[in-house]
Subunit: 481 residues, 2 copies
C-alpha cells in the first residue's frame, strides 16, 4: 500500500480546484453529526472538509468507528456544497478506518477544555483548533524570521548549546554532566574533579549565543542565531520558561541607531508575513481571545482585536525614548504621584520594573516603545559606554501586554574600556580571552539584540500563557514528555 | 555617528551597479600589497574589493595601521579596474581605521594554516576564506531546508531539548541538573533525590525529537524539527560530535515508500539550492579540496570534483536496495571472498559496518543508496514490523565518502504490536504512556527520518572533518568558547 498516493490535503480540497473529481483525503474526525456529516481535518488548515455519508450504503460496523479523533481515509467526489458553512464537500464512496478513538477514553472531545487541562495532555492538545492554530502561526513566524534575514544577506549561525563559559552571567544555569551523581570523582582537595567530566571542565546550557555571534559578525558581517536558550530560574509565571528559543542578530559596523532600525524593521516584517500567510488562523485566534475576554471586566480586556493590534504594530513607528526621558515621564506620572507604583520612581538610576514599562507602553505612549541609553550600572558589562561616562548604548523594546520583547545594545568595541569593566566586575580576563581577542584584532563598532521567540508568539497569537505557545514547555517541576 | 549609513557591501560593489559613484565600504583587510592595493572583505562574499590607495595622499601613520585583519571604513569612487583579477575597484579618498590587527600577534596571517591549528582558534578561524565559505554554505543549506518544508506545507516544530524520557535509548545521554554536585540531596534510602532537582525528576539532553514529532504529525499532518541533539559518546572521530543539529520530518499517512520519496526529493532540493545560490563559495571549496588531495595517493582522492559530485547527487536517482539484497551483494563481493572485511559477511542478520556501507556505495553502486527492510533485531522498537515478522520498515541513506546521512522508518502504528515490542525490551509501558496514546487514539500509518545536518554540510562543502563544519564543535574533552 502506498498510502500517500493520490491523496489530497484538506487545504487543497477547500480551494475548490478539484470540483467534480474523485478525491482521496486522510485526516481525523472533528465531529460526526446525524450519522451523515463527517468534519475531517488533517492539520493543513484550521478548516475542515465535510464528508457526506449515505448511511444506508455503509456497514454499521464502520459507522460505529467514526467518532471524534478517529483517523480515516475517505474517497469520494468533490462537489459544491448545498449546506451552509462550506463551499465544497465530499460525497463519500469509501471509508477506511486507520485508527479509532474510543469516546469513553479519548480526552479531546468536541467541547470546551481549559488550557490548564490541556497542558497535562501536551501530546494531544495539538489536536484542538486553538493549539493547531497557535503552532501553525509559530511555524510561519519561524519561517518569516529565517526569510527576513536571508533576504537581508544575514548568515544563520548555530551558537553552541553546551558552553564552558559563564560570561554573560544572565541568571542561573543548568549544569551538563556525565559524572556519577552519587559518587563523583574528587580531587585530592576533596572538590569535584571536573577534569574527569565529559568535556574535561564544568559545562552548562547556554543562556545566550551573543558572545559567539559577535565572533562570527566580526568576519561574516551580518549574522543571527535562532536556537534554544536556558534559564534555571525558579520563576513560575506566565512569561517565563526554563527552555525557550531566542533570535539574536549581530551586525558589524552597526551602531545603536542602526540596531534599533533593524529590530523595528525585522519585527514589522515578520508580523506582516503572518498577516499575509496566516489569515484564517489569526481570525480564529482573534475570535478565541474575544470569547475569553468576554468573561473579564472591561478594564482587563484588550484595547484592540488581535488582527488590528498586529496591523497597528506593523504600520506605526515604535516610539524611541531615552531612559532619562522615561524617568521624567514616570516621575511626573499620576500613579507615581499617587503612590500607586510598588516601586516609586524617585530619581535617575533606578531599574525599571514591569509596572513602569507597562505604564509607558500601555498608558502613556499606547504603542511599542524602544527605551535606550540606560544607566551603565544596571546593564551588562559588554554594552558600549557613552561619552557621558554613566550611560550605555542599550535598548529594550517593550510591547503592550507582553513587556520586554527585545533587549539589545551596541557592544563595547574598545579593548581598554572593556578590560576596565571586566576588572571592575571581578571577572578573570582569562575567562574571556577569546572575546577580548575580537577587540585586539580588527575591532569595530557592532551591535545586536535578542528577541525571545515565545514572547513574539504570545503577542502574535493573543495567548495569555507562554506555556501555551511552545509544544512541550519546560518549567520548574515540569519536564513531562 | 551612524556607521551603517550609506555604506555598501562588498557583494553589492562587485555587482558593478554603482560604477562611478562615491561609495563607502566597511570591512577587514585581507592583504595590503605594495603600499597601494588593499583587498577588503566584509563577509558578504568570498571575493574582495580592491581599494587602490595613492600613498602620497595619506599619512604614514594611517598606512602603517593597514595590515591583514585590520577593520577599515573606506570611501572613494567605484571605477572599472585596469588590473587583472577584478572588474571594479575603489579609488580610495578616505580611510578610517576602526581597529588595527598587530601582525606580530594576529594569528590569521595570509598564509596556509592547518585546520588543526585553526580549531584551537575557533573564534578567529571564521576570518579565513575556507571557514567563511563553509559557514555561508551551512547557512544557505539551513535556509534551503526551511524553505523546502515550508513550500511543501510542513510545519516547523520545536522539539524539547531537555527531556524527562529516555525512550529512544540511542546511546548515552548528558544529564541536566541544578543539584549540588558535592552534596546532592538524598532519599531515606541513600539514593539521589531527583524530586529536589529543578524539574522534579531526572532529565537529560535529547538524542532525538522524533517521538514528540510523531505526536505533532498525528494532528498537523506534516511536521519537521531542526534543532540540536546530543550524544555523550566518547567517539573521537572525524564523523562524530557530542552536540550536532538534526532535521527530523514526520508525516502522517506516509508509508516507507513515500518516506524514501520525501528524503530523496528533499536532499536533491537543498543541494540544488546551494548549487544555484552558493556558486562562488562552492567553486572556492572545490579548488581547496583539489589542492588538499594533490598530496594524497590517487586511490584516496575524490572520484569527482565537488560541484560535479553535488550535481550527480541532485540529478540521479538514489539506488533503492533491500537489506536482504545488500547482504547477497556483500556476501558475493570480492573483499568478502578475499577476507578483506574486518567483519566478514556470513549470512542474513548481521548489522552492516561502515566498511560494508562504503563498499556498496563507493564500489558497487557508485551512487547514493537507500537500504530498507532491515532485520527487526538490529533496529529500534518503534519501527513497523513487516508481514514477514522478521524485518522492519527501516531505511538508511548512505552517501559516498560520508556513510549514513539519513536514518528513518515507517513507525509501528499498531498498539498491540508496539506493546509487545516494548515488553520484549523490558521497557516500562508507563515510561511511554503518551507515545502509546498516539496509537490508542486516531492511529495511522506514519513515517519519518532524521538527517544529521553536519554530515550534509560535510558532503556539500567537501570538508573532511565534522569539527570544521560547525562553528564551535563539542567533542570529548573540548567545550572551549
Amino acid at each position: 500500500m502506498h498510502f500517500n498516493m493520490k491523496s489530497t490535503s484538506v487545504k487543497e480540497l477547500l480551494s475548490g480546484n478539484l470540483l467534480l473529481q474523485e478525491v482521496t483525503v486522510n485526516g481525523w474526525v472533528k465531529t460526526f453529526r446525524s450519522n451523515r456529516f463527517i468534519a475531517l481535518n488533517d492539520g493543513s488548515t484550521i478548516n475542515n472538509i465535510q464528508c457526506v455519508v449515505d448511511f444506508e450504503e455503509f456497514d454499521d460496523s464502520i459507522l460505529k468507528q467514526i467518532a471524534t479523533g478517529a483517523a480515516l481515509k475517505i474517497t469520494g467526489t468533490l462537489v459544491e456544497s448545498q449546506g451552509r458553512g462550506q463551499n465544497v464537500e465530499i460525497q463519500t464512496k469509501n471509508i477506511y478506518v486507520h485508527g479509532i478513538a474510543d469516546p469513553e477514553t479519548y480526552p479531546i472531545q468536541p467541547k470546551k477544555h481549559s488550557l490548564e487541562f490541556l497542558r497535562e495532555k501536551a501530546h494531544l492538545r495539538i489536536r484542538t483548533n486553538t493549539f493547531a492554530a497557535v503552532m501553525r502561526v509559530r511555524s510561519a513566524l519561524s519561517f518569516a524570521i529565517h526569510n527576513y534575514f536571508r533576504q537581508n544577506d544575514f548568515n544563520y549561525f548555530h551558537a553552541p548549546i553546551i558552553t564552558g563559559s559563564d560570561a554573560e552571567g544572565a541568571g542561573e544555569m543548568f549544569r551538563v554532566t556525565t559524572l556519577d551523581q552519587k559518587n563523583p570523582p574528587l580531587t585530592e582537595e576533596g572538590e569535584i574533579n571536573h577534569k574527569e567530566d565529559f568535556f574535561g571542565k564544568e559545562t552548562n546550557l547556554t543562556v545566550s549565543g551573543q558572545l559567539e555571534a559577535e565572533a562570527y559578525a566580526m568576519a561574516l558581517g551580518k549574522v543571527y542565531t535562532f536556537g534554544p536558550t536556558f534559564r534555571a530560574e525558579n520563576s513560575n509565571t506566565s512569561r517565563h520558561l526554563a527552555e525557550f528559543w531566542m533570535i539574536e542578530p549581530e551586525v558589524a559596523f552597526n551602531d545603536l541607531d542602526a540596531n534599533m532600525d533593524l529590530a523595528e524593521d525585522f519585527i514589522k516584517d515578520v508580523i506582516n508575513y503572518i498577516l499575509e500567510n496566516c489569515a484564517e488562523d489569526l481570525a480564529f485566534l482573534e475570535k478565541r481571545l474575544l470569547d475569553e475576554e468576554k468573561t473579564k471586566p472591561q478594564a482587563e480586556r484588550s484595547d484592540m482585536p488581535l488582527i488590528e493590534k498586529l496591523k497597528f504594530v506593523a504600520d506605526n513607528n515604535f516610539k524611541r525614548v531615552s531612559y532619562t526621558e522615561a524617568i521624567d515621564i514616570l516621575r511626573n506620572s499620576k500613579p507615581n504621584k499617587k503612590k500607586k507604583f510598588s516601586y516609586p520612581i524617585d530619581g535617575w538610576g533606578a531599574d525599571l520594573q514591569s509596572e513602569h514599562e507597562r505604564y509607558l507602553v500601555e498608558k502613556h505612549f499606547k504603542c511599542p516603545v524602544i527605551l535606550f541609553d540606560y544607566p551603565a550600572d544596571i546593564k551588562a558589562f559588554y554594552m558600549r559606554l557613552n561619552e557621558d561616562g554613566k550611560t550605555v548604548r542599550a535598548m529594550d523594546i517593550l510591547f503592550p501586554g507582553i513587556g520586554e520583547i527585545v533587549g539589545g545594545s551596541q557592544r563595547e568595541e574598545r579593548l581598554d574600556v572593556l578590560k576596565e569593566k571586566i576588572a571592575a566586575l571581578g571577572i578573570d580576563e582569562k575567562e574571556l580571552w577569546w572575546y577580548l581577542d575580537l577587540r585586539k584584532f580588527g575591532s569595530a563598532v557592532h551591535s545586536g539584540f535578542g528577541l525571545g521567540f515565545e514572547r513574539l508568539v504570545l503577542f502574535a497569537t493573543g495567548m495569555g500563557n507562554i506555556r501555551d505557545v511552545i509544544p512541550f514547555p519546560r518549567t520548574p517541576q515540569n519536564a513531562e514528555f
